[in-house]
Symmetry: C2
Subunit: 422 residues, 2 copies
């Protein structure tokens, strides 16, 4: 047997067992899943030393390969990183379970009672980079929604992920749940990912977690539906009708509080009609906050500290303390700019005009549209979901922050007493 | 410029104009879309002769190519076919518009008011075979939900589809709506489809309408999310606890009333514990209805008219009066059989036992699960949607019959008064 067909057999076996486990999961009481999540949390505590020993194998390999310090940092299973996973597991266990809810009921003239029932999606594949925390966080949310999960982490975290997955599978089987409800792709071979993406008979959804190039590769190769978490080119528009006591803190918070994340602001839009003194106030607050600005000709008149912006940059993420500043004509100009350059992630208007706010809310094509609030609020926790598996920039199924409920679908339930169709 | 890059330029232009039109559509009053649909209905009536003249070009070409009579039949814009399109347009115009609805509202401890707002998906591409009725029906549903639509019909219907689309675009512009909210791919070149499927920056959703091979090709090539309408391998399970006065009419209706469609039964499952006389009653009713049966060894004891079934056939659709009959052990056997061989379309149980019905409803992994009703009810009209763009066998976004609301998504709307994230 060739290596290729042997690998295909391994991946196929994983996919088939995941499907079987997903059907079994649905028959077990919801409480047993919560019990498994709590057991896993306890084991992360008690097995910390062993996990860190496995993790050090990855860290040594990373060092030997000369990987950047930032990668090593994300790789490290520090006490703090483990504590965060443990807290996450306990929070997810405490959430209510979405599966089983019945809604949209109707009775048809022929007497058929029709409703929708919320059910798990089935089998979810997570493809991610060198962050062992994703292993535990993403798996917990998938399992909470009663889905089986297949994990394929970055090769740099292979030993850490193997150890975490083994512990998690054991927590499942010790609670009477199928161990194969959580499976780990036991190879760093890239061909394994391509094979996985062809198993549309057994896998229902792929969620890639990582940079844009990883996501694009997955979309390119996958026959299985993918929910994408592309980049966040987020805007804050300060209208001529803005209250500057709101605008200044919002702009600073959207950029400075955590510039490396997807819901941080990348472009500040200033209304051409905004008083120049007010424009200077927000610009200076950003500069004082450590922000390096790049603007169009109009914006550069506000400060000699603003460099020239390149149009191409307006389509991308800085993910650091650089920021573009663009002047637009009123709310229409802001809407047109965002719909052209934005990534449909999160966009905010600061205005006291209800008319402007309404226009912005209804016409900006984005997952999260905000009025007088920082873009940084686009987050599952902040929206009250209790957890988050990512922020979808897709329009189908789920948009914006995705929680436990977003990993469910529905079935139609039709109850009759012998009806036939005429 | 090469032919390839010229074609790419044409397709790119169509996609860009569709995106622009989709944004404009959202700014126009809902009533203007209904007006355009009604205008199109009127024009189908008044332009019937011209449309039929265009259609005859397609029919002559089909004849010259020696295409089967069934294809020519579906191609024909008969008075009856046009009347059905006209009725469809008027029905869709009369439906309420789903876009704009606000739901799932919550106020967070920090005072942020967060809700979801139902909005159009944006730009939808429909790829279909030689059925000119899809041109009008699918476009009407897409537009009703305020989506721009790009149509790519089968080459055999090129003249008919061109004429219908031109008329529809004109109905839009005469109502003050962007004509390019409906566009037709003006070439039968297959490369055009592949190019279209790469335009993920401008097209949000692809719906293929046609046979399994068309759908598989689209899934293979598309970077844009696809909602699939694969085959319907539908089952009826007659339990030992069935009321035969319900079971017999349901089985006959599910198979005989319209065997060529996706929600017709392909496999009858008989409970091993069902009284042999009752089994014979349902078998004989099917034979009397003109059905040719293929069964497993156990089922073949019931009648010498039952041929042997091939296991491979259990995964496929007959789409005619042939039917498989399989004996299973109780409701668990039925559930296992359906989850193995079914296509997750529509499956029904006939039983008087509430326990069995509950088990079947919760454990069969299918889009529509029915109790004591014919599978033929899996249909947008029968579910009260007023219309249908297809029956999704996918699990994401929409499952089962899809109506106007299924062509919408949501955006998160967050309203604050200056909140920033700590």
């Amino acid at each position: 047997m060739s290596t290729d067909s042997r690998l295909n057999e391994i991946i196929d076996g994983i996919a088939v067992r995941a499907r079987e486990a997903s059907l079994l999961l649905q028959e077990r009481p919801a409480a047993s899943i919560d019990k498994a999540l709590l057991l896993m949390a306890d084991r992360l505590e008690s097995d910390m030393a062993r996990l860190q020993a496995e993790n050090s194998k990855d860290l040594e390999a990373a060092k030997a390969k000369g990987l950047p310090a930032a990668v090593a940092d994300r790789l490290t299973l520090s006490g703090k990183a483990l504590a965060s996973m443990i807290r996450g597991l306990r929070e997810v266990a405490a959430l209510s379970s979405p599966a089983g809810e019945v809604y949209d009921g109707r009775t048809r003239p022929n007497g058929l009672k029709i409703s929708k029932m919320r059910v798990p999606i089935g089998v979810i594949g997570i493809i991610y980079e060198a962050r062992p925390n994703v292993t535990v966080d993403a798996a917990a949310i998938c399992l909470k929604s009663r889905n089986a999960v297949i994990l394929r982490g970055g090769s740099e975290a292979f030993f850490s992920n193997s150890a975490l997955c083994e512990l998690f599978s054991k927590s499942l089987s010790d609670t009477g749940l199928p161990a194969s409800a959580l499976q780990f792709i036991p190879t760093t071979d890239r061909a394994a990912v391509e094979l996985l993406l062809q198993k549309d008979a057994h896998i229902d959804l792929i969620i890639p977690r990582g940079g844009e190039s990883l996501i694009r590769t997955v979309v390119e190769k996958s026959r299985i539906p993918v929910i994408k978490h592309y980049k966040g080119v987020c805007h804050v528009f300060v209208s001529a009708n803005a209250d500057m006591d709101k605008a200044v803190p919002i702009a600073v918070n959207a950029k400075v509080q955590r510039p490396s994340v997807c819901n941080a602001m990348e472009t500040l839009l200033l209304d051409a009609g905004l008083d120049p003194q007010k424009k200077k106030r927000v610009i200076n607050a950003l500069i004082d906050g450590g922000v390096t600005l790049f603007g169009d000709a109009e914006s550069r008149k506000l400060s000699d500290k603003i460099g020239a912006v390149d149009e191409e940059a307006l389509y991308g993420e800085y993910l650091d303390l650089r920021l573009s500043v663009i002047t637009v004509n009123g709310v229409d100009g802001a809407i047109n700019h965002i719909n052209k350059y934005g990534s449909r992630h999160t966009d905010s208007i600061v205005t006291e005009s209800e008319t402007e706010a309404e226009a912005f809310v209804s016409r900006v094509d984005t997952a999260s549209v905000m009025v007088n609030a920082s873009t940084r609020f686009a987050d599952g926790g902040e929206y009250g979901m209790g957890c988050e598996i990512g922020i979808s920039t897709d329009k189908l199924h789920s948009r914006g922050p995705m929680g436990v409920e977003d990993l469910t679908t529905y079935k139609w339930v039709v109850r009759g007493n012998g009806q036939v169709r005429e």
